[in-house]
Subunit: 313 residues, 2 copies
Amino acid sequence: MRAFLDGKLQALQALPVDLRDVAAALRNYLLRGGKRLRGALLIAGHQAAGGRPEAALDASIGVELLHGYLLIHDDFMDQDDVRRGGPTLHRALGGDHLGASLALLCGSLCESWAYQLLGPGAPLAARTVEQVIAGQMADLRGPRGRELSAREILEVQRAKTGTYTFELPLHLGATLAAAPQVLLDALSAYARPLGVAFQIADDLLGTFGAAEVTGKPNAGDLREGKWTLLVARALESAAKKDADRLRSQLGKADADVEELRGILRRSGAEASARADAERLCDDALRALDSPAVPEHVADDLRAIARYSVHRAL
Amino acid sequence: MRAFLDGKLQALQALPVDLRDVAAALRNYLLRGGKRLRGALLIAGHQAAGGRPEAALDASIGVELLHGYLLIHDDFMDQDDVRRGGPTLHRALGGDHLGASLALLCGSLCESWAYQLLGPGAPLAARTVEQVIAGQMADLRGPRGRELSAREILEVQRAKTGTYTFELPLHLGATLAAAPQVLLDALSAYARPLGVAFQIADDLLGTFGAAEVTGKPNAGDLREGKWTLLVARALESAAKKDADRLRSQLGKADADVEELRGILRRSGAEASARADAERLCDDALRALDSPAVPEHVADDLRAIARYSVHRAL
């Protein structure tokens, strides 16, 4: 990835305008941490179908760059300042309209690189990106004056990350090695519940996690007023006094985070989210018993599932 | 295109958040005018390689949507208010940060649709988009305190629109019908000079054109201080007094447009731009004499070349 990036960023300097600072900021953003989960999944999917890891290297860089594109654009839209323990790209580039525009273009560059690297997998990736964008639109627009139910939040989350994080890279890798349908089905049976579990774990981390683990401000979700499954469940099941308090404090920059966390705990929302994530993770692990998945790949996918969900539990 | 859009925008309503106004604004933006030049070129390229027009219909919608994506994002970055005789999309959606974010997402949706419709042509399109974005970065950043020469401006313009408007759609259509290399080369020999001629014609229109023709404010380029080939040539060849005056007035919202137009005329910049566009258009027309290009397709491409350049001359 580093070598690919350096080649592309070098080519950017051929134009008669100095873009070195933009290239350096993008490089730093992309290479600074990140779990590289999607690249690892793509290679696992490729190996499951009998492919050699080297043959999937370009595509695995492609999914990581696709993710970089979505993060850069999301950071601007959500007006976030921090990502992976450093500044978001629009902040690093000055934070004004020009900086934001250059950051958005950097994101779009990553995307154009991704579609080049994904080759024949590009249209499949584009279908999934379409869903992610629709989910992000729904997320940004919000319910406009009414409250979303837990069921509705799951629907938006399923659009936004349901197939994107796990199923897409696995299928991209597997189809690159001409996987049979039975393998694609087994990978889906693993990826879909895990996608939901991952999202729940992410909500738990954003609400209860420490800043050192998340690379984002502590309890950011509560102070930003993010409409998570945890919040919807608490509003549905908490005592009226607690629900009213949560409603009035959510999204306030000076909210008492410990108090709100207490409400989420008392209402049972936290425990039920943890139980859901565990159950969905177990469903995913069970799908790996399929004879279509080679044992050494199943081992890798088990480790990925446990890591993805348990870091939050 | 209308039917495809309606299907996709309908699917957007499946989420439990009301996005009807966003869908309507995007639909209006995309279906309001536009020359559909790229779609027509894609079909011409396909027919040149012996393909049936129906088989290229999806891909031709794809290049038009790819163009829609770039326009929507450019309009936001350039902070333009008007496009094709109506509001730009970020303006139509409220003009604030939320409206801009939703507009950017609409653009990205168009792009994801485009890559789906382009199918095996997606990676080729992504390579060209990479160049367009690099050119847009250079354009936005600008030369930072020094003046770009006419040659340097041509370089940035070549990145930004050189292969994008003509060569990309022709090649996408032709490769979809398994065109031989000799045909691809003939199409490039037509497309490349025409791409530069088209850009020069666009500068002429943006500087001397009437608002009724361009769908944008009259002489917008001069008042926005856009660094065009016309301006660079005038600064290189005008009398010192004229050059200083142009330098000091360019980009002022209350600049005397007729005075600046007079300077561009007196310096010879306008005449030399028109002569260049004519010459490049002739080069493009001559490339169509190649026996690799079927005569009925050459006729269509001649008409497109004349229309693209002469609307400004």
